[in-house]
Symmetry: C2
Amino acid sequence: MKNKVTIKDIAKALGVSISTVSRALKDHPDISESTKTLIKNFAQEINYRPNVLALSLRQQKSHTIGLIIPEIVHHFFSSVISGMEDLSYREGYNIIICQSTENQFREAAALQTLIDHRVDGILISLSKSTQNFSQFKKAIEEGFPMVFFDRICESVETDRVIMDDTEGGRLATEYLIDKGCSNILHLAASSHLLIGRYRRDGYIQALKDHHLPIKEELILKCDTQEEVLTLQNHLYELLPQIDGVFAVNDSTAIALIQILKKKGYRIPQDIRVVGFGDGPNATIVEPALTTIEQKGYDMGRESVRLLLQRLNNPSASISYQTRVFPPTLKIRESA
Amino acid sequence: MKNKVTIKDIAKALGVSISTVSRALKDHPDISESTKTLIKNFAQEINYRPNVLALSLRQQKSHTIGLIIPEIVHHFFSSVISGMEDLSYREGYNIIICQSTENQFREAAALQTLIDHRVDGILISLSKSTQNFSQFKKAIEEGFPMVFFDRICESVETDRVIMDDTEGGRLATEYLIDKGCSNILHLAASSHLLIGRYRRDGYIQALKDHHLPIKEELILKCDTQEEVLTLQNHLYELLPQIDGVFAVNDSTAIALIQILKKKGYRIPQDIRVVGFGDGPNATIVEPALTTIEQKGYDMGRESVRLLLQRLNNPSASISYQTRVFPPTLKIRESA
DNA sequence: TTGTAAGCGTTATCAC
DNA sequence: GTGATAACGCTTACAA
């Protein structure tokens, strides 16, 4: 934060008042053309730049958006950020980024920090561990614009950007059934994670639709690569009785494929596998992963769009909106 | 940005002066314990939160760091961001993120925005297209703390965090040579990208060290998955005469492996392939990719560390530092 | 021990 | 047309 030029300096140098400078720089109609050009040229010359901090303080508007995200390194999340950044850049907003690292306390701290920074609004995808939503409710009640994306919370009334996870789960499972699978394992996320529950619901619905039995022992909480390894033995015990797997995300599906192959299972001949996400890994694993496409970049853009819409219409009469992205099944070789 | 409580409100409510409130809240020794507790309790009760904007304006310090990064979606960069965010969070700094999308004009705009926002310092990795560094030089000359990481620029004197790309290239190539390769193709980045040039230099050095001829036609500008596909035919023409490939990054290496396999080449028996980066894809492709490890998370942390060190010692007497991360070869199956 | 007032950089409301 | 001045929320000499 260096010793920058201020309008005060310009005023002094040019022998005019501060307010004249301020007005001239923003083309106020009252100022004569001659003084305008004089001031503007000089400002340009000495490379004047308005102090955004002072502006924000004065205008009660920071033109900054806060983002709380579980883990930046996941491809889905990083593409979401990318989409957010692209649009907000166009619209003259900046993004302050905080990662919760799936920790609810750090998430809470991030929310506080962002509010303290007087961001104009917040974009958030919940951490896996968050169970208490009171702070979010409070912030929203106080009129703080907030958009939840992907990992939302139903008990908090607000704008949302999600995909149809239930339909995604159903689509994936139905595809397996269509391919002849009848004993389908579901590698699921923790059920208090909404997207996890929905994907599982979709799985169950597809089973029901096709009059297949729902077996509790075939729904296994296992949603990371590490967990696949931890549960390896248990998985091996289950495998003989199953002919299809729907995994809650790509990395779990891929980790499974890897241990399946190690055991000599052929995919898709012996076991079919469908993932969820369609990240770059899906086309690298062999066989290439059949999976549900998740449009991170677009969801990021849409989240910002929704937020800005609310910021630009503070009249607040718009009712909360939920944007639902339809899932698409990317059929490849694993199923 | 809601109608929040200010110290003024507290002062009025409690019948004390603004300065007393200000002092009490920061435990100023002059204030009596009784008023302190009175004020603190009340502040807590009505949920007072200081306005960071006002603070920054007053103290000429925003506790905010600006980040300019080419593309968030690349695994290396997202892990860098993750490391940066983790450390700066601990140290009470926030990060404003801007992506240049490999576009030098957007990069220049980002720099300006961040300076306008009075960030305390900037972390930057250059876009591929940047050829003009004058703005960076100017900012640094004006005393703006800046740390370049990964994609640095040698003509700008400043703190740097890089890895030893030359050594990485040498290591990769030498490993191929040790394995018996003598006709090694190098899929290179554009040579005005410093990291690209260094990796190529390492390749050349290894060849020289082992008295192997350097053939210009075996150095091919090809550093993305897309480019591999574009150059597919040319690559197929080259392949019969080569027995090893060193690719400037993992995704290029993997894309190559995929088209090699399609043509029936066996890896590593027919052609050995080494990549650079060691992202998550490296263990998914088959055969698993032998590659140079690049510690994104650590480099991110180190960049922030270097920046904070400078911010905390504004005496500015510390000479510029360059942190060099040594490369490690991760040996897997592709070479 | 507490209060007054100036100032951080800007804009907006008055005057003249 | 242009210039004082107050205000945004806070800190900090300097007074009291």
